[in-house]
């Protein structure tokens, strides 16, 4: 573990009441890396992701992002969050705003851009995710795949240095998953640093620099995808990957 890593998670533990949901989780990422957290439901991977932008509070350990301690009580979480984009499983688009309104809200109100600048940036990001023809659509008028792409554009509009994806395709009908993964592939190609929780193993395998397998709040195993998928070092990892594979 070196100090010049972009993101260093060290021995992070978290409890919900008496129940410990994360046990000394550690991993690190370089700038431009894609790390994928996998594991059965309830393994703590989404909670781990949320600890990185403090939507969940870890009680122990350290998360250093770009030289700053994320878990420090003195940290301004609003500043942290404008630098860390997040994409949600349930999209969580602002239901009262159009696609452009959703994407422009952060730049306008958080970054302080003018109305016109924020709008311009929103349109640019929506074009980037392939929604140039849906600027004025409300979330309820969009398909799930389109909504999630708006969600990605909304996060991108803040020009974050790290993107968190919390099961971005799990709520989608199978035929809509591809369009979202395609956008994510594009981000990988552009060198975006991404921490992704997903069950899309083929995506993980194709783009991840490292895969972290969590079970019961523990890091069971981590490593490059080829190693993890071809020669899992732990029996639990192998069983999980087999189970997932049989569902595909």
């Amino acid at each position: 573990m070196s100090d010049d890593e972009f993101l260093t998670v060290t021995d992070v533990s978290k409890w919900y009441g008496d129940e410990q949901v994360l046990h000394d989780v550690s991993f690190e990422m370089d700038r431009g890396d894609v790390t994928v957290l996998i594991g059965p439901s309830g393994s703590g991977k989404s909670t781990m992701l949320r600890c990185v932008n403090r939507l969940a509070e870890a009680q122990e350990g350290s998360i250093r992002l770009d030289g700053e301690e994320v878990l420090s009580p003195d940290l301004d979480v609003d500043v942290l969050r404008r630098e860390v984009g997040m994409v949600f499983q349930g999209f969580n688009l602002f239901a009262h705003l159009t696609a452009v309104g959703n994407v422009a809200l952060g730049p306008r109100r958080v970054l302080g851009l003018s109305e016109a600048e924020a709008r311009e940036r929103a349109e640019e990001k929506l074009e980037r995710v392939g929604l140039a023809d849906q600027f004025a659509s409300y979330p309820a008028e969009l398909s799930g795949g389109q909504q999630q792409r708006v969600g990605i554009a909304r996060a991108l509009a803040m020009e974050p240095k790290l993107m968190l994806f919390d099961e971005p395709t799990s709520a989608l009908d199978p035929e809509l998953i591809g369009e979202v993964l395609e956008v994510m592939h594009g981000l990988v190609d552009e060198g975006m640093t991404m921490l992704v929780v997903t069950h899309e193993m083929s995506f993980a395998r194709a783009v991840a620099d490292e895969i972290v397998f969590l079970d019961g709040g523990h890091v069971v195993e981590r490593g490059p995808p080829d190693q993890l998928f071809e020669r899992p070092g732990k029996e639990r990892t192998g069983r999980f990957l087999e189970r997932i594979a049989s569902h595909d």
Partner: protein
């Protein structure tokens, strides 16, 4: 969650309802009612440009003669004349009823929103807000008005205002009472609506770096207030009718003037039927107005047909 478009909004439902005969009658009655009121008020403020101040817009004698000429209605000609003679007083009283309701409702709204936000998202402030709403909702409105008027003698502190277009001192005491009381009720309606805004909306707002208050202002309120419109309309309607309690602190609004005439003429039944119809017309106007507002601010997929 990944559902396709569901375009059944209020706006579309309003647009679909075709102009039936009943609707046309309602619109005609509304135009007649508000035309009468507005012309009566203007006539009084402008010093009797249409008819002498205090006189009905149409001649009571002519109405009496017309009704007497109608087959089967001749027996009611005297009543018709009396109702027409009553209209100037009713119009005067209705002006105050409208002013008291509108001003209290609007100011109350701006108190109710912070109260509701505090109640849902605050800690200590939630407790304060709860105290306020329970106290104001848990005691009789009339008792509150009496405390303000007789107890605190507020009317003596309010600077005098020109009578006529602008209400007299005591009217401001009534407005204060209805504002404070109505704010508590409005806060309850808005609180319920805020609580029905999905948690994920707040999470998403926080995740792009909006503070808690910014998230409430830019994300929660625009949705919650839309959800609140139907129940908030109830408060509007209640307030129109509750405003009659102002009569008990000598505010010469609709009920007060009706009661004054009734105690002089003893024609209680007729007077309060006509007064009741006037309140009914105000209430119908309010609910139609809010229906329009709801349609105008409707957003596809929001409020009209929420999932869960």
């Amino acid at each position: 969650m990944a559902s396709a478009t569901r375009p059944t909004t209020v706006r579309e439902r309003v647009a679909e309802s075709d102009p039936s005969l009943g609707r046309l009658l309602l619109v005609a009655a509304g135009a007649l009612f508000w035309g009468w009121l507005v012309v009566s008020w203007l006539n009084r403020w402008l010093g009797g440009v249409v008819v002498p101040v205090g006189a009905p817009l149409v001649s009571p004698g002519a109405v009496e003669a017309t009704v007497a000429a109608l087959p089967g209605l001749a027996a009611y000609a005297g009543d018709a004349r009396f109702v027409v003679e009553l209209t100037p007083e009713l119009a005067r009283g209705t002006w105050l009823t409208v002013v008291i309701t509108a001003v209290s409702l609007v100011i109350g709204f701006f108190i109710a929103v912070p109260l509701a936000v505090a109640r849902v998202y605050g800690r200590f402030s939630a407790w304060l807000s709860l105290m306020y709403t329970e106290l104001l909702r848990g005691t009789p409105l009339l008792a509150q008005l009496f405390v303000l008027y007789y107890g605190l003698n507020l009317a003596s502190y309010v600077p005098g205002a020109v009578s006529g277009v602008f209400p007299r001192d005591v009217v401001w005491v009534a407005i204060l009472g209805f504002t404070l009381n109505g704010a508590a009720y409005q806060a309850e309606y808005i609180r319920g609506a805020l609580e029905s805004v999905e948690e994920g909306q707040i999470t998403a707002g926080r995740a792009i770096g909006l503070s808690k208050l910014e998230t409430i202002y830019y994300v929660v309120l625009p949705q919650g207030l839309r959800y609140a419109i139907p129940s908030w309309t109830n408060e509007f309607v209640y307030l129109i009718k509750y405003s009659s309690l102002a009569a008990f602190i000598t505010v010469p609004e609709l009920y007060y003037r009706a009661d004054q005439v009734a105690s002089e003429t003893f024609r209680y039944t007729l007077i309060f039927i006509v007064t009741g119809v006037t309140y009914l017309a105000l209430v119908l106007t309010a609910s139609k107005l809010m229906e329009r507002v709801e349609g105008a601010v409707a957003i596809p997929g929001l409020g009209a047909e929420r999932e869960e």
